[in-house]
């Protein structure tokens, strides 16, 4: 509780006025010579029980009455944020989670968790007085922004809804950096979030460093977490996991795999799934049971002549309309580009042949470049890089790592020259001869359950055992070996990465090194599979996710043609789901998959994250109409009235019984 007129609390000792008057009254007594002392002595002996309690209560009621009046005129504020007699901090940093899941709203009021949080914080600040320094760190940019007033929270675009995710550890780190760099003084950090597990990344290693950073601060920092952890009971989300265009005789068709997820597993529900392609709407009724539902190979016919277009799948609006729609674009088949980096024509040709077979209307294309021409690679349009040269280093290695992180695939083949560099911890060893007996196979074993050498879709194994290897180059470094030679050395090794794929093949495809190029079905499949994996990242751009920097999204040239209203602001549109267009280019933006996950942090997880810090957690819900802070002087006036009534009741003269003495 805090007070709008706290200086009036200095007058609280006035509550003791009744007691002082009582004491003064006692001191101003008169003296009487009295004869009937026996009755007085008897009366004072008996005056120890109810009567003394009664007069104590009268005195207490009078004191409470005056105190209630003083409290009331001090304009007390009751707030779940505020502790008793809390002082105003020097700085208030507001960490606002604007992720798509915060758009969950109350169907009665259309008030979302985010808007409710903003309104409650703004109202609380207005009622308790503006802090000297109010800073906003919202989840899309994670950069501190100083606000002039609390009222601006309701107006600035940085507090509006987005379809992005949130990174709470990064926001906390940003707040810590701000406090350190600005010497913020006593700081209150208010966190408004729905505590969605994906946004908080509670298992991330950065939390320990963040906690330690705040604990080392000299100035006191108080955390207030306004948590809207309550999940919606009847929310459903929709997204497309795969989309492809298939050519037909008269018309083409878009084939899509649709995933629907809802927040409750019990019972079944009928959902009309709307599919809109180029403005034409199709509705499919789906009866859904359980938490998730997959609607595979749904197709929509499209004009054969139309080269590109856009569409969306949507569910009827529910408590979170942000996850009830998913946008996509389509075009012609994607050209799977491979870049062969080699300065040895013999090897390069064999590599290019496997990546882009010379067939008519091929959707694959391969380019051969020398290692010093790496700068010419169109990274965003390339799916696979086959590197048969000395391992890259410096800027080239960094470019390749970024390529891998964006989902690209690289297969390294051994250079014939010496190579001392390493990539991802692996480097080439010496060339060696593989001496085998007449009936011995070159490949001792290989992973046939997954990876590039896995069985075919029909379960048939690849003919890896027919591969003949004469010369191979040893690999130094750890990784997952997909195929072993008879010597125990790796023939094909995968380097673990979060995204994309990095492979090392220990021999060259042409003679005299091996027979991969001549008789290697396994080799062809291996390369095509790597190419297909690399092309997925381009396929995903059809329904791009917010946060994946595929194009220069900040360019103001992108115009919204469908999606949420907030996308009309150029500064915000890259965080808003919808369809955007720049010339002939279309771009779909959608919320990240983690935003569909209804899981939230438990209380114990939150306690663990804030362990050692000064924090308070206020659980709120979007249906709740209670304000964070409100004036409660009425309660004290009520206390005053009750005290007066009690005092009056206790002071009522006794009902006189019949006269004691009749002379």
């Amino acid at each position: 509780m805090t007070f709008l007129q706290p200086w009036l609390l200095w007058s609280l000792p006035l509550a003791l006025i009744p007691l002082v008057i009582h004491l003064i009254n006692l001191r101003r007594h008169r003296t009487v010579e009295w004869g009937a002392m026996q009755f007085l002595l008897q009366a004072t002996r008996h005056n120890r029980g109810k009567t003394r309690l009664r007069h104590f209560l009268i005195m207490l009621a009078r004191i409470l009455g005056v105190a209630g009046l003083l409290f009331a005129i001090s304009r007390p504020m009751s707030g779940r944020w505020f502790s008793w007699f809390g002082d105003q901090p020097d700085t208030i940093i507001l960490l606002l989670d604007r992720s798509a899941s915060m758009a969950q709203q109350d169907m009665q009021t259309n008030e979302s968790k985010r808007s409710l949080a903003v309104e409650q914080i703004a109202t609380a600040l207005e009622r308790t007085g503006e802090p000297p320094n109010l800073v906003l760190i919202e989840s899309t940019r994670n950069t501190p922004q100083t606000l002039q007033s609390a009222a601006s929270l309701r107006e600035i675009p940085e507090t509006r809804a987005t379809d992005a995710d949130a990174n709470l550890p990064a926001m906390m780190q940003s707040a810590l950096d701000y406090i350190v760099s600005n010497q913020a003084g006593r700081t209150d950090i208010w966190i408004c979030s729905d505590t969605q597990s994906g946004d908080w990344n509670s298992e991330g290693g950065q939390w320990a460093a963040i906690r330690a950073g705040f604990q080392e601060l000299k100035q006191p920092v108080q955390f207030h977490l306004l948590a809207y952890s309550q999940s919606a009971a009847d929310n459903a989300s929709i997204r497309i996991s795969e989309l492809r265009r298939e050519a037909g005789s008269d018309t083409d068709r878009l084939v899509m795999d649709i995933q629907i997820r809802r927040s409750q597993a019990e019972g079944s529900v009928k959902l009309p799934v709307g599919i809109v392609v180029d403005g034409a709407r199709t509705v499919i009724d789906v009866e859904m049971q359980g938490e998730s539902f997959a609607l595979d190979d749904q197709f929509v016919p499209i004009d054969k002549q139309k080269e590109f277009g856009w569409g969306k799948v949507e569910l009827p609006p529910d408590v979170n309309p942000r996850d009830s729609v998913f946008y996509f674009t389509y075009g012609n088949d994607i050209l799977k580009r491979t870049v062969v980096v080699s300065d040895q024509p013999g090897s390069a040709w064999a590599l290019k042949l496997a990546a882009a077979p010379p067939v008519e209307k091929s959707t694959a294309e391969a380019t051969i470049i020398r290692p010093d021409e790496v700068g010419s690679i169109e990274w965003n349009e390339t799916s696979l890089i086959m590197w048969q040269a000395a391992l890259p280093f410096a800027e080239t290695a960094k470019k390749l790592e970024e390529f891998v992180n964006s989902g690209g695939q690289i297969v390294f083949f051994p250079p014939q020259d010496d190579s001392t560099e390493s990539f991802q911890g692996v480097k080439w060893g010496d060339w060696e001869k593989l001496n085998l007996g007449p009936d011995e196979q070159a490949v001792k074993d290989w992973r046939d359950d997954s990876g590039l050498l896995a069985h075919a879709d029909n379960g048939s194994p690849l003919p890896v055992n027919r591969i003949v290897v004469n010369d191979f180059r040893k690999l130094a470094g750890s990784g997952q070996v997909l195929a072993h030679l008879q010597t125990g050395d790796a023939l094909l090794q995968r380097i673990p990465t979060d995204h994309g794929g990095v492979y090392f093949c220990a021999t060259l495809p042409q003679q005299p090194f091996s027979n991969l190029a001549q008789a290697g079905i396994a080799y062809f499949v291996m390369v095509q599979r790597a190419l297909a994996d690399g092309a997925e990242r381009l396929l995903e751009s059809q329904f791009g996710l917010i946060g994946d920097q595929l194009v220069d999204e900040d360019a103001p040239a992108w115009q919204r043609i469908d999606g949420w209203e907030e996308g009309t602001l150029s500064s915000e549109q890259r965080f808003i789901a919808g369809i955007y267009q720049e010339g002939d280019r279309l771009l779909a933006r959608n919320r990240p998959p983690a935003e569909d996950n209804p899981g939230t942090l438990t209380s114990s997880e939150l306690e663990r994250l804030f362990g050692g810090l000064n924090y308070r957690i206020v659980q709120d819900q979007v249906e709740g109409a209670s304000s964070l802070v409100s004036e409660i002087w009425q309660a004290f006036v009520l206390l005053l009235l009750i005290a007066l009534i009690v005092e009056a009741a206790l002071c009522l003269p006794d009902v006189r019984t019949k006269k004691v003495v009749t002379p």
């Binding site: 009254n25 006692l26 008169r30 003296t31 010579e33 004869g35 007085l40 004691v660 002379p663």
Partner: protein, 301 residues
């Protein structure tokens, strides 16, 4: 004749009361003839009874008419009228100092006893006085001459309220020392335990005294009309007490009620002539009411 001015004697009151004789409710055994009945037969004109003549009786008292009618000797006997001894017992303890409007309970008691003494003396009764205070200081025996009455008045004039009450001891002592039947007039606030008072009354009753009690109380003592913190000084020398009257009023009234009920039970059990008096009431009215109440219903004269 005493011509000295006495504050406790009001000629107007005495004049008004002079027409009301003082009667005893019990037979008295006086030395001389008077207004009061005696247990002995005497020479008054009030017929008492016939009694058979026995040897030794004075033949002059034979009723010859009765002999003529019954042929038996009867002696005709008459009531004896005698005087009484009025013993005033005045409580002179410190608590009797309390009063209002300049009149203390002691002053009131003095007026009652002095007036009754004067009236008794005027009708030939003996008047005595006992002061009931701790130590039983003053005791004036009953005599019937005018000089003695002056002595009684002088004693009354000199009495000052002081110390704790000695009423119980005084009454027991009076009961023992006054051998002949007497009218014992007690003027006191009776601030003693009722059970002890009952013992005193029964002692006096056993000694065949006619006991009259004037219970003197002041209005503030009955109604406890204080409304602000007050320090009460004990007039009998006990410790003072600072109290908030509103806090203890209920308990005070309860204690007073309990006391009054005890006094009522004591006077009921001992059959004394009890009069509870508010000292704000004119004592002349009190005495007039008292004298009228004791007047026999059938006049004997």
């Amino acid at each position: 004749m005493d011509t000295q001015h006495r504050e406790f004697l009001d000629p107007a009151v005495l004049t008004r009361l002079s027409s009301l004789p003082l009667y005893a409710r019990k037979m008295m055994m006086g030395n001389v003839s008077g207004r009061h009945r005696s247990p002995h037969r005497g020479s008054s004109i009030e017929f008492a009874e016939y009694r058979k003549y026995v040897q030794g009786d004075d033949p002059r008292r034979l009723d010859w008419r009765a002999y003529g009618r019954s042929d038996r000797f009867y002696v005709k006997e008459f009531e004896a009228d005698t005087n009484l001894r009025l013993i005033g017992v005045l409580d002179t303890s410190g608590s009797m100092k309390y009063g209002a409007n300049g009149v203390s309970k002691l002053d009131y008691g003095k007026r009652l006893i002095a007036s009754l003494g004067y009236l008794a003396s005027q009708q030939g009764d003996a008047v005595g006085l006992t002061c009931a205070a701790q130590g039983l200081g003053v005791q004036v025996p009953a005599k019937r001459n005018a000089a003695h009455l002056r002595n009684v008045f002088n004693t009354l004039a000199d009495i000052k309220p002081k110390g704790e009450t000695g009423l119980v001891e005084a009454l027991h002592k009076v009961a023992e020392q006054v051998r002949q039947r007497a009218l014992i007039v007690i003027a006191s606030d009776l601030f003693v335990p009722p059970n002890e008072l009952l013992d005193c009354f029964q002692h006096l009753r056993f000694r065949k005294h006619d006991v009259v009690v004037f219970h003197l109380l002041e209005a503030a003592e009955l109604e406890f009309t204080f409304d602000r913190p007050t320090r009460f000084l004990d007039l009998e020398g006990g410790p003072s007490l600072l109290v908030e009257p509103s806090v203890i009023r209920r308990e005070y009234e309860a204690a007073l009620k309990e006391y009054i009920e005890g006094i009522d039970a004591a006077v009921r059990d001992s059959a004394v002539d009890y009069h509870r008096i508010r000292i704000e009431e004119p004592y002349g009215d009190v005495l007039a009411r008292f004298l009228v109440s004791r007047t026999p219903r059938r006049s004997r004269r």
